[in-house]
């Protein structure tokens, strides 16, 4: 097993992606709508296809724009179907995203079949190939700093997410906890809702090409859910989800290289192992966390407050 700069690049892209997803994912979890990440990551497809049809290019700007519009529409349609169709939100979400995804597939098949939008790539990503497409950040006679292009795109998305959450932290918190208070205080909770959906859509698209949608969904949901098992403090919750996201990416890639080597198995994919690692971290937190299974099973009673 030999380590190259490629491994560093893969870890860099994976980490940036995991953290970029974990941030909006935390607020999805708090609003009890984690599966909205799943829905949006599928529903952006017609947005991408239409953006390509209209603009004729695959440049990042149009792709992001198309994705953002599709993301907001998913949220909007889900809202409408829940309200007027008298179905629960999970079902409404299912109706909207499968339909939009199918429309996206048809659009691509009919009009843009020659474009390189590969279904396999969408699902599993092409993390292993990201080091092939490098951009130079800095160069002089002795030094050259190159990173994968995917790292730049996802890094920019991460910055966007940090900026939005930093600016609207208190507004997001209030709109998540008590939308009616936010509404009466004039803070437009629906606007915050759609902003969050836009963040999810943009992040999904940025991460799509590099790591695929499966790991995007995993990183939107699993790190925040793991953190939720460890703490009930919002600032720590965000910090822990970032830590879990980083650990999943780093350990995921390492184990994707190490496991097949030790077990004598064929190679595995890094993005798949990153999602698997996230799942394992969740399991650990569930077993050993402060509210974990072992603690509950230990049968020790907590001391009543007045006595302690």
């Amino acid at each position: 097993m030999n380590w190259t700069v490629n491994d560093l690049h893969i870890i860099l892209v994976g980490t940036l992606c995991a953290v970029a997803c974990a941030l909006p994912g935390t607020f999805l979890l708090l609003r009890r709508m984690s599966m909205m990440g799943d829905a949006i990551s599928h529903a952006v497809l017609p947005g991408l296809a239409l953006a390509f049809l209209i603009s004729g290019t695959r440049t990042s700007f149009w792709m992001f724009f198309g994705a953002a519009v599709a993301g907001v529409l998913t949220a909007l349609f889900t809202q409408w179907i829940t309200r007027f169709g008298k179905v629960e939100r999970g079902a409404a979400m299912g109706i909207v995203f499968t339909t939009l995804f199918a429309v996206g597939l048809i659009l691509i098949k009919q009009t843009a079949d020659h474009v390189d939008l590969d279904a396999g790539c969408v699902l599993y990503g092409a993390l292993e190939y990201t080091p092939l497409n490098l951009v130079t950040l800095f160069e002089n006679d002795t030094f050259i700093v190159q990173v994968p292009k995917a790292a730049v795109v996802i890094g920019a998305t991460l910055l966007f997410n940090i900026l939005i959450l930093g600016l609207f932290f208190k507004e997001f918190t209030m709109a998540s906890f008590d939308p009616s208070l936010a509404q009466t205080q004039g803070f437009r909770p629906m606007l915050m809702h759609y902003l969050l959906m836009t963040m999810v859509a943009v992040t999904t698209v940025a991460a799509f090409e590099a790591v695929g949608s499966i790991i995007v969904i995993a990183m939107l949901i699993v790190p925040p859910a793991t953190a939720y098992l460890l703490t009930r403090r919002l600032s720590l919750l965000i910090a822990f989800s970032i830590v879990v996201a980083v650990l999943s990416a780093v350990l995921g890639h390492l184990s994707s290289q190490a496991l097949p080597y030790f077990l004598g198995l064929p190679e595995t994919t890094s993005s798949g192992m990153m999602a698997t690692t996230a799942g394992c971290l969740f399991l650990l937190a569930w077993l050993f966390g402060p509210e974990g299974l072992l603690k509950k099973k230990s049968g020790k009673l907590e001391m009543p407050e007045e006595l302690s």
């Binding site: 918190t173 906890f177 009616s180 009466t184």
Partner: protein, 259 residues
């Protein structure tokens, strides 16, 4: 300007109708709530009590009619109103401390983008002390009892420093000590000239707690000073066939004489 709803009323509701899926929940509600009153809104389940508050606050769309706050639309008078929603309307497992929930009442004054400062945190702590749970300020809300959670909501309304308080069942499922603390708080607000509107369930305490009463069952059955509105006839009209609590009413009416 409507002559029947002069602007000295903190809340005037005109011809309000609200419907869900074309089924009316409130029908042609017309009300004037007097300044400085402690008003109870009473009626059976599904009578539209919470809906009335929410429609006045633009939280749900009105099918027709309007609500005026001192003669102007709610939109213009937001700062004058504090709203305490039903306790079950939020997720009490949300990772946040009691103090941070109370500080949310100051967000409108802080404005967009800006952080919660030391002054607001201090204000939040003082409000928590006022409702008797200052020592629980840093406790996560999931670890509070139902009564303590209700007090957190009241403290949050206090820091909003409003003129009119809209409260949706603050007495629902709280312990006796909390109920006492809440009523004392409402009375102290009332003594400072604030108007309080309170959705209430317990007929036995109505005449003790409120000086003004709205009896509601989709329409307004009666509205006026408690002594006039809280009669056997009105209660029967309000609760109709559903009144298998006739004994409760008898008990409640007995209390009228006592206070």
């Amino acid at each position: 300007m409507r002559p029947e709803h002069p602007p000295e009323f903190p809340l005037a509701v005109h011809d309000l109708t609200v419907a869900y899926h074309r089924k009316p929940v409130l029908w042609d509600v017309d009300l004037n709530i007097p300044e400085g009153s402690l008003t109870g809104i009473v009626g059976p389940n599904g009578a539209g009590k919470s809906t009335l508050l929410k429609a006045c606050l633009d939280l749900i769309p009105k099918t027709s009619g309007e609500a005026l706050v001192y003669g102007k639309s709610y939109e213009e008078q937001r700062d004058l109103i504090a709203y305490v929603p039903q306790r079950e309307s939020v997720d009490w497992d949300f990772p946040i401390s009691a103090r941070d929930v109370v500080a949310m009442g100051t967000y409108r004054k802080i404005g967009w983008f800006k952080r919660v400062g030391a002054a607001q945190k201090k204000q939040a702590l003082e409000a928590l002390e006022q409702v008797g749970i200052g020592h629980l300020a840093d406790r996560q809300i999931a670890q509070l009892s139902g009564g303590q959670q209700q007090r957190v909501f009241l403290a949050r309304a206090l820091v909003q420093d409003a003129q009119i308080y809209f409260m949706d069942e603050p007495f629902a499922a709280v312990d006796a000590a909390t109920e006492q603390a809440i009523i004392e708080l409402l009375q102290s607000l009332n003594a400072r000239g604030k108007t309080v509107l309170c959705v209430h369930h317990d007929l036995a305490t109505v005449s003790r707690y409120f000086d003004h009463l709205v009896l509601l069952n989709m329409r307004v059955v009666a509205s006026g000073p408690t002594a006039e509105a809280f009669t056997r006839e009105n209660l029967q009209k309000t609760y109709g066939g559903k009144l298998n609590l006739l004994d409760d009413v008898a008990q409640a009416l007995k209390n009228v004489g006592r206070h």
